[in-house]
């Protein structure tokens, strides 16, 4: 990091746990998660806000963690892929991705699942257009998206119970 900008302390909640980490103010949330907190489920595909592999929820909204500076994280609530299942019990979306072939190589999957969980919270019975739009910030090179739509549709009814 450039000289002159010292590290700051950031306090926030990650996956329902209070955490504190040190980072330069302009350091990326993505790196703080992966390197400081060793939560490597959040992936980097482009580092420029295009692919959505780094998607996490911040105060309930989807963000590309590669674009969020650490300074903005103070006092927020972050949800990463590691916090989606309840212990060993998978979230309905995760289970649906396994059953319906929504994950192939798996690199887009953490971000895609967070986008799907967020979508189903906003639209418990989404239309196809809503699913397409809800996932349009998350690129997948493997599936052609069809199996991902099917996974989201399959998770619909299930996920209310889960949420």
């Amino acid at each position: 990091m450039p000289e002159g900008s010292g590290k700051i302390q950031v306090r926030c909640t990650v996956n329902n746990k209070a955490v504190t980490f040190e980072a330069y103010p302009m350091a990326r949330l993505l790196d703080a998660l992966r390197e400081e907190l060793r939560l490597t489920g959040t992936k980097e595909g482009c580092g420029e806000g295009e692919c959505g592999a780094c998607t996490v929820e911040m105060d309930g909204a989807l963000v590309n963690s590669c674009l969020v500076p650490a300074a903005q994280v103070e006092a927020t609530k972050i949800l990463t892929i590691e916090g989606v299942a309840s212990g060993e019990r998978l979230h309905a979306v995760q289970q649906a991705f396994i059953t319906n072939g929504g994950a192939q190589c798996g690199i887009c999957t953490p971000g895609m699942i967070l986008a799907a969980v967020n979508l189903l919270r906003r639209f418990p019975e989404p239309t196809e257009v809503q699913i397409r739009e809800g996932l349009s910030g998350n690129l997948c090179r493997c599936t052609g998206y069809t199996k991902i739509f099917e996974s989201v549709v399959a998770a619909c009814g299930e996920s209310e119970r889960d949420a």
């Binding site: 489920g41 295009e50 059953t99 739009e133 996932l135 997948c140 090179r141």
Partner: protein
């Protein structure tokens, strides 16, 4: 054949790790004391290195610096031949050529240091197009810029021109395409004279990397170890370039004495690693008035970039697929792979076939129009059948039902009704609609004698708990290797799918089952998995510890007793080339592939004539791939391939400037999003007759071949544009339409 596990959509083996974020990809690993590594590349497309200067306010003493002179063994990335250096020494031949490597624990400082290295180069004239390479404007590789040229001859093309009712000619082009796996390439290495070299990374072919490192370090084979980490997509892009990155990380580790991690950022990955070969194809076709193909004369050229890498093999597949699934008495195909000063082009799903199939299927729509036949009617009159011969003089010994596949595809897509309806409605409409199709085949496995030469091996071993572990170098990169191997072994052994484990590909621990490429994993390696599992069972039967009709508990008991009495219960199976398959590499004829997948794809598009914006509205894919081992995975392969094909057809446009990709960002190199890919309807017409387990054939590459021409034919139907080139951007479509009106 009745099956219990094969044909069922069991849960993906590593699915749980992937949906919970627990799967570990290379960038998720960290070793104590690990340094970051970066690559400094030559700034000129072709030239002589005059000097390397380490400038700026950088603590150079703290930084590990590696140049060509630090290489202990051969300075090359050994693949087919030894032409590509690991680090440029003297000459650079493209702008992304690695020259210097740097390592340090502080990634930020390292970035500054990379910018402070100045490589002084005396430029030499460079060439960037197939035309300039063929014209030998400069000789930049070998004697004539040609990596390889091949010739396919069937019958006598020259005899046909004078008797033809109609001769149709045309030239077609395809652009480069980036694989764009979402996980960028990366490697971690540990290396020292005492311990040898170990690398972990994102890769398709551990034994390719192994071979390259053995030569680079001049070490015995058992001192080099290559481990595949979870791999976030490959599509061919991680077939050969990982050897380069592994070599670089290992050299830095060797010199620094510390573990070194190199992860490419997206821009570096897109610009420097291999892409699909750009191509140019010329067709000249003789046809009778009733639509029978009399002669096909095809000239197919691909741009291989600055070094040979896999170009000869890509050329081979592209050439053999160039005449398609048609019966034609006289065929001549000339194929050439030539050099330019671009970074080497390489493997990308389809491997040359998408290029030549695009040309053929566009061309045949034009041939049909020239003889006044519907495009489907022309194909129907020429579809190859069992017993007839392909262009390479291979007699087709499988049941081929192209007409039936076409019927299914047309029925599912309502082709005839829509074709007519759009033709009537389009005139005057601002948004025009079109429907088009492509017919094609794709050979499974390595071309010609490739499989014989590879002589792949697979091992299996049983544990005292009655679990069976498959050991193979074949990699999982999302396509489902772990799952289908487990299904095959479970089926063979009469065990549950959950009882099978797949060893992590690690050259110290798995035999070489060949590269994970060429749609060969299910059919070729899958068959070896079946045999390896079978041999475990046979050993138990022969020892008298197990009898037919066993269950899991008795199997486990028998394994335990066997191991207690005789030691390890394992098997090692080597590929046996089917005696009836013959290939003549000199004459370029014979059994090019042991089996083919056959397909008919239908695309429906809309074109906004005001903006020339094109959308794929519907897509129907009907294929015959032998027995489908896992319906969900198989459909996923087809759908994913079609999405990549949509990109190839319409969106993925690489902008070149003097041999460098200038739009190496996801913001301006556009791959399809969930808004651009329609629901894709996939149908398998199963005729179990492949050479793989339970009759499986290959599947992975197939969807890339037919998608782009089906879309291009649909756009041609919608607009009347004479489409000759992909990617068909709105600008190109505009231009094509204006030319037609001028």
């Amino acid at each position: 054949m009745e099956t219990r596990v094969i044909g069922k959509s069991v849960p993906r083996k590593e699915g749980r790790e992937k949906v919970t974020g627990r799967a570990r990809y290379v960038d998720d690993l960290a070793f104590p004391g690990m340094l970051h590594g970066v690559t400094v590349r030559g700034p000129t497309a072709r030239g002589r290195i005059r000097g390397i200067f380490f400038e700026g306010d950088i603590p150079w003493k703290e930084i590990t610096i590696v140049t060509a002179k630090d290489i202990p063994g051969n300075n090359c990335i050994l693949l087919l031949i030894e032409d590509q250096p690991c680090l440029a020494d003297g000459l650079v031949n493209h702008k992304e050529e690695p020259v210097v490597l740097l390592a340090h624990q502080d990634a930020y400082l390292l970035g500054e240091a990379r910018r402070a290295v100045r490589i002084e180069i005396e430029p030499l004239p460079a060439i960037f197009t197939i035309e300039d390479s063929l014209a030998r404007k400069e000789i930049i590789w070998g004697e004539d810029n040609t990596f390889k040229s091949v010739r396919v001859e069937k019958g006598d093309v020259e005899s046909a021109w004078s008797v033809a009712d109609c001769i149709v000619e045309g030239e077609y082009e395809t652009g480069a395409q980036e694989q764009l796996y979402i996980e960028p390439q990366g490697m971690i290495a540990r290396a020292s004279p005492a311990d040898g070299v170990t690398v972990w990374g994102s890769l398709q072919c551990p034994h390719y990397v192994h071979k390259a490192l053995v030569s680079l370090f001049g070490l015995p084979k058992d001192r080099i170890r290559v481990v595949q980490t979870e791999t976030g997509g490959g599509f061919g892009g991680k077939e050969e370039y990982p050897s380069m990155i592994a070599a670089h990380a290992a050299l830095l580790a060797w010199k620094s004495g510390r573990p070194v991690k190199i992860i490419y950022d997206r821009a570096e990955d897109m610009a420097a690693t291999t892409k699909r070969h750009p191509s140019k194809t010329r067709h000249r076709t003789a046809v009778s008035s009733d639509g029978k193909l009399l002669a096909m004369d095809i000239d197919f050229t691909i741009d291989g970039g600055a070094y040979e890498t896999l170009s000869p093999v890509v050329l081979s597949r592209g050439t053999i697929h160039a005449a398609g699934p048609y019966d034609c008495p006289n065929v001549r195909i000339r194929g050439r792979a030539v050099a330019t000063n671009a970074p080497p082009h390489g493997a990308f799903r389809g491997f040359g076939a998408p290029q030549s199939v695009f040309a053929l299927e566009r061309h045949l729509d034009r041939v049909a129009a020239a003889v006044g036949l519907a495009p489907d009617e022309l194909r129907r009159r020429n579809f190859i059948r069992e017993g007839q011969t392909l262009a390479v003089n291979q007699v087709v010994h499988e049941r081929v039902e192209m007409g039936r596949l076409m019927d299914q595809a047309f029925e599912a897509s309502d082709y005839h009704v829509k074709r007519k309806q759009y033709s009537t409605e389009n005139p005057g409409a601002a948004i025009k609609k079109g429907i088009g199709f492509a017919c094609f085949l794709h050979g499974a496995g390595f071309t010609g004698s490739g499989e014989e030469y590879l002589a792949s091996e697979v091992a299996a071993e049983a544990t005292v708990e009655g679990r069976v572990r498959i050991r193979a170098g074949s990699t999982e990169m999302g396509q489902g290797t772990n799952t289908i191997f487990s299904q095959i072994a479970a089926e063979t052994l009469g065990l549950d799918y959950e009882k099978i484990d797949i060893a992590q590909p690690d050259t110290a621990n798995v035999p070489n089952s060949g590269p994970t490429v060429a749609s060969r994993t299910s059919m070729i390696v899958g068959k070896l998995v079946e045999s390896a599992a079978r041999e475990i069972q046979t050993k138990l039967f022969q020892s008298g510890l197990l009898e037919q009709g066993y269950d899991a508990a008795t199997f486990a008991k028998a394994c335990g007793e066997y191991i207690g009495r005789f030691g390890a219960l394992e098997s090692l199976i080597k590929y046996q080339h089917p005696a009836e398959l013959h290939w003549n590499d000199e004459r370029y004829e014979g059994d090019a592939y042991g089996a083919y997948a056959w397909a008919v794809y239908v695309a429906e598009v809309s074109v906004d004539t005001r903006t020339a914006e094109m959308r794929v509205e519907n897509f129907t894919a009907v294929q015959e791939v032998g027995r489908v081992i896992h319906p969900v995975l198989a459909a996923g392969q087809i759908e994913g391939g079609i999405a990549q094909g949509i990109g190839l057809a319409l969106y993925e446009n690489i902008v070149w400037h003097e041999g460098r990709m200038v739009n190496a960002q996801m913001t301006n190199y556009i791959m399809p999003t969930s808004m651009d890919v329609p629901r894709i309807r996939v149908f398998f017409d199963e005729i179990a007759q492949g050479r793989g387990p339970a009759g499986a054939k290959g599947i992975g590459e197939l969807p890339l071949d037919g998608t782009a021409p089906a879309i291009a034919n649909a756009v041609a139907h919608a607009t009347g544009a004479d489409i000759r080139r992909i990617p068909l951007t709105p600008e190109l479509l505009m231009e094509t339409l204006e030319k037609a009106h001028a």
